[in-house]
Amino acid sequence: MKRFLLVLFLWCSHVNAQSEPLRFEPPLTITTAANGVFIHLDASGRRSIAVSGNVVGVVWEDNRSGKPGIYIAYYLPDKSGFTQPEKISLQSSAYEPVIMALDEQRFLAAWEEDEHVWLRVLSPSKKGDVVSIGQAPAKQISVAADNRGNTGAVWSGGPPRNEHIYYSDLKANAYTVLVSPPQLVDTSNDKDVQSYPVLAFSEPGKIVAWEDRRHGHTRIFSAFAPKGQPFQRYQPLNEFDASPNPELGKGSGAMRPVLASNNSQLAVAAWMDKRNWQSGYDVFAAVSENGGAGFGGNEQVQDMFGENVPQWHAAAALHGKDGIAAVAWDDTRNENSDVFYSLRTQGKWSDDYELTGATGPGHQSHPSIVFDGQGRLHVVWLDNAGGHISLRYARSLR
C-alpha cells in the first residue's frame, strides 16, 4: 500500500509539474508574398513581434519593392486583421529588423541598412525620424526596453573578422530617439569575433548575450551590468566538455542566443547548441534568478521526441507575473517543418507542444514570440506552402 501511495504521489507530482498546452485563437495572415518575393523573420535575438498596450506590432524584411526592405504591420484591438504593411526603412537594401514595445502604443524598431544600424519610433498613427547609431560597419542590432523607462540597443560593429558587441542607452521622447555614446560590452583583451547580440533589462541591471569565437569555436557568452555601472566580465553561457578527440575540433558549435526577462529577477537565455552533434542543433537554455548577474546550469528545452532531428530558430519569452518562460522553434520531427514550443514552470520544461495553426502540410518555421501583460503568448511565423510564403500570427487565450 505504501509503495502504491508513493507511486501515486510521484505521478501526481509529475503531472502537476507539467504545463498544459496553450489554447490559441485562429491564426491570422499578416501578409502573403507574391511570386519572387521572400519574407524573412531573422532578427538578432528573434524579436520580430511586440505588444504595446493592446496593439501588436510585427516587423519583417521582404523584397516586394525589388530590394530587401523593412515593413511593419499592426493588429489593433478593434480590427479583425492586421493593417496593411508599411515600409519603415530607407532606400537601400535593409535587413534583420527587430521591434520592442514602448508605452502608449509606440514601438521602437531597428534594422541594418547601408552598413549602419538604424532606429525608429513608430505607432499605428505616426512614424518618427530614422536615426543612425554607432559607426559603420555595423549589423545585427537588437533592442530592449523595460517598464522603468530603460531602453537600449546592442549590435555587432567593426570590420569583418574583427566585429565586437556595442551597447548604447537610448531615450525615446515621443517619436525622437536620443542615443548615448556607444560602449564596448566586453573590454577584455582576448576578444575575437563577436556577433548576434541580444539585450534584456532586469530589476538589478541589464544583460547582453552574444556569439563569441575566442575559444576557437562559436560559444554563447553573456555579460551583466548592474544598474548605473559598466558591464562586468563576460561569462560563458553554454557549457561543454572539451573533447578528448581532436577530430571533434576545438568544440561543438552554438549559435543565435535569445534572451527574455520578466523585468524583475528572472531571465532566461536560450540558443541552438550542437553539443549532441549527430542530430544537429538542440535548443538549450539557462535561467537566471538574480537578474542576469549569473545563470544556472544548462537545460535542454526540447523533449526526447525531438532528439533525432535538428532544431532551428529558437525564440524566447517570459511572462512577468507568473515567471513562465516559453521557448519556440521549428523542427522536422513530423517530416515537414512545424513550429513547436515548450513552457517552463516550477523549474521544468514541459513536453513539446505543436503550435496550433503552424503544423501540418507545408513548411512552418522561424517563430518569434512575446507575452503580453495578461500572460497571452503572441506568435508570428513563416508559412511556406509550395513556395507561397505567408507571415502568420496567433495569440493564446491564456
Binding site: N63, E211, T218, E247, G253, Y281, T332
Partner: protein
C-alpha cells in the same frame, strides 16, 4: 617539407576551420554565377568554425595535390560557413545568410559536401570526413554522368 606543410595546415585550419589554403573557393552566389558562365558543376563545402572533421579533411584529403588539381579543374568551388551571417543571393532572387542556406539544405553536422549542377540543383550530398579516394570516386560519379542513372550508393557498390 611535406610534414612541415601538414603541421602548418593543422594550425591554420584548427584556428579558422576555413576552406583549405590555395583553393579558389568562392561564396555560394558568386559560385553559382561562375558555374553558369563556365558550364561547370559546383562543389559546395559546408564547414563550421572550430569543426574538427573539417580540419581533418583539409589536412588529410585536400592537401593532396592531385585531388586539388582534379577539383579545381572540374568544379566551381564554393565554401559556406554553416554558422555565418554572411549574405548571399540564390538563383530565385532570395537573399539570405549562409547559416539560413544551411538550414534550408538541412546541413546540421559539418563538414557536408554538396555536388550541384550548374543551375544549383543538388545532385548528391556527402556528409562527414572523406578520404582522397572517396573524393575521387565522387568526382567520377559526377563527371562521367553516372548521377543521371544511378544513386551514389549504386554507383559505389558496382565499381
Amino acid at each position: 617539407m611535406r610534414y612541415l606543410i601538414l603541421i602548418a595546415l593543422l594550425f591554420a585550419d584548427i584556428a579558422f576551420a576555413d576552406p583549405p589554403d590555395n583553393y579558389p573557393f568562392l561564396s555560394f552566389d558568386s559560385g553559382l554565377q561562375q558555374a553558369q558562365q563556365e558550364k561547370k558543376h559546383i562543389f559546395v563545402y559546408f564547414g563550421r568554425y572550430g569543426c574538427g572533421f573539417c580540419a581533418k579533411t583539409n589536412i588529410e584529403s585536400f592537401s593532396d595535390p592531385e585531388l586539388k588539381k582534379r577539383y579545381v579543374k572540374n568544379y566551381i568551388l564554393v565554401y559556406a560557413d554553416a554558422e555565418s551571417g554572411n549574405r548571399l543571393t540564390l538563383p530565385s532572387g532570395e537573399r539570405l545568410t549562409e547559416a539560413e542556406l544551411g538550414a534550408q539544405l538541412n546541413v546540421f553536422a559539418t563538414p557536408v559536401f554538396l555536388y550541384l549542377d550548374m543551375n544549383g540543383e543538388v545532385l548528391f550530398r556527402a556528409p562527414g570526413f572523406k578520404t582522397v579516394e572517396e573524393f575521387v570516386e565522387f568526382d567520377r560519379y559526377i563527371q562521367e554522368g553516372h548521377y543521371k542513372t544511378k544513386s551514389i550508393n549504386e554507383f559505389l557498390s558496382k565499381r
